[in-house]
Symmetry: C2
């Protein structure tokens, strides 16, 4: 949870080349904005470290993709980049980072279909501190439960109006799934499809690792994620980490995965742009992998991930 | 589409017994409101005729039900009723109805989970004129296409976190389905489940009628709607019309229905609170029923429906 006082807000506005700075603690949206009344829009959540947004191009490209799925005009990437830079600079000026370890900011991009009857979308950048919970879960790991997402793994391909590959503002189901997990004492959720395939977390991508011995005795490390055509969001963090892991000699794999694959893995993570790699300790109460190997693999992947711009 | 100038806005606010009147043409929501950033909240859309809201109790009860599904504290019904009365009175004072036929208003209730970090939900009533499109479609009827909703008809029962019986603000899929229909030259959509059952429209309930001869030659009229446990929203208009139709001697039926049942019906309608009964002329290009019988049944049901408070 973020108090509005620590949020820096910059609207994209063609009259202001670097965006229009606004006060996030004051009302800024019309009640007829279709973001608020229909969850009709798209968003991205990014991490800035030392003032630099990580994977910014991948996020801007995915936002464009969400816009295409929604038939929604997304402002140009240059306009976003200027507004993002202005918002981060303003936040660092208002709240100078205390230490290098503390120098992380959440940068959220939001585009709605605009107010009813308006010709243009509403678009803004908001910059805020990283919550304590996200930082803690990187270290302690998380307990997750498996929940049915209701869709079968072919739904995305046959029914594009379901917007399964888009990151829309309609996140009520994702939030309800997280509340369901919290009531059961768990931290997070891994969704599976109605035909039993592992999909994704409500706000993250699923990764798992296997370490095997090759014929000559050297360890072979494999990093695996569900395949995209099952109707999940293309994870920008997963994409970047896979690239780095491949260069470091890991083998890569893509689903289909079933829940048993998670239980049989040497380690499982939920990966996302702000919380980064959250090691999964338990799934539906069952311990995953071995703690020492999980720790070692997490450290190795964290190091690879830290090198990503 | 509604211009903000013709919208009367009243926030539910414990400091104001009849709600707090606000200017809908000015920003009133924080950008961190979880209605805007997560589609996290619930709503109702009602029709006021001559200043009286139709089926108000059914709408307030359904809003409470959506709140339960969302774990969201919904303001009390008395508080809503006072704010609704104030908003309607204000609209009729600002924009006096020109004629009895013109004396219809859309009354929308919205509750969001509030701004991030806030203790209370954001809740408001907005009152605006009925759009010309809705009035026209009551008369002319509509063309619809059938679209897959992705969920099977058991999903609602086994996975309550999918919020299938709740009227949430996360309507991006419903809006995308309507855009998909418009691109194909159609007006609206009837969703079916992945296991082939007729569900509902994106903003309406499906009705169909059959007229048969009984053994003694008198006509037997049956009104049929999909069964609720297939994961559709309980239609307040369908519920009220069924009650009135039963009293008028109609037989009632509840699904499961398959698309062929729609094509075989004597008439099909999409029913909702503002557009009321919209006769379906064509489904996927195929004409439904016979125009003269459809007209006759529509007139009869409209008369029954007009008597509902």
């Amino acid at each position: 949870m973020t108090s509005p006082a620590s949020v820096v807000l910059v609207f994209l506005d063609s009259a202001f080349p670097d965006g229009r700075l606004a006060d996030a603690s004051q009302p800024q949206l019309l009640v007829t904005d279709q973001g608020a009344t229909r969850g009709d829009g798209a968003f991205e959540t990014m991490l800035a470290v030392g003032g630099n947004v990580r994977k910014i191009q991948a996020h801007l490209d995915r936002l464009d993709g969400s816009g295409k799925a929604l038939d929604l005009a997304i402002p140009g990437q240059d306009q976003w980049r200027r507004a993002i830079a202005a918002a981060i600079a303003e936040h660092r000026s208002q709240h100078p980072p205390v230490s290098d370890a503390d120098d992380e900011l959440v940068v959220k991009l939001v585009v709605t279909r605009g107010a009813e009857g308006a010709a243009a979308p509403t678009a803004w950048v908001q910059v805020s501190p990283v919550g304590a919970g996200a930082r803690r879960q990187r270290e302690t790991g998380i307990d997750v439960i498996l929940l049915d997402r209701g869709y079968d793994s072919d739904a995305a391909e046959r029914a594009p109006w379901l917007l399964l590959g888009a990151k829309t503002l309609s996140y009520a189901v994702n939030m309800a799934a997280l509340r369901h997990a919290h009531k059961q004492g768990a931290d997070d959720v891994i969704f599976f499809s109605s035909d039993g395939r592992v999909l994704e977390g409500p706000t993250s991508t699923v990764l798992l690792a296997h370490v095997d011995k090759s014929d000559d005795g050297t360890p072979v490390k494999r990093l695996i994620t569900p395949q995209l055509d099952s109707g999940i969001l293309a994870g920008t963090s997963q994409g970047a980490l896979f690239k780095a892991a491949k260069e470091a000699g890991w083998e890569l794999g893509y689903g289909p995965l079933v829940p048993q694959d998670l239980l049989d893995a040497d380690a499982v993570w939920l990966i996302s742009s702000v919380r980064l790699l959250a090691p999964v300790n338990r799934i539906d109460g069952q311990e995953i992998g071995t703690p020492s190997l999980q720790k070692e693999l997490t450290a190795e992947l964290n190091e690879l991930f830290a090198g990503i711009q």
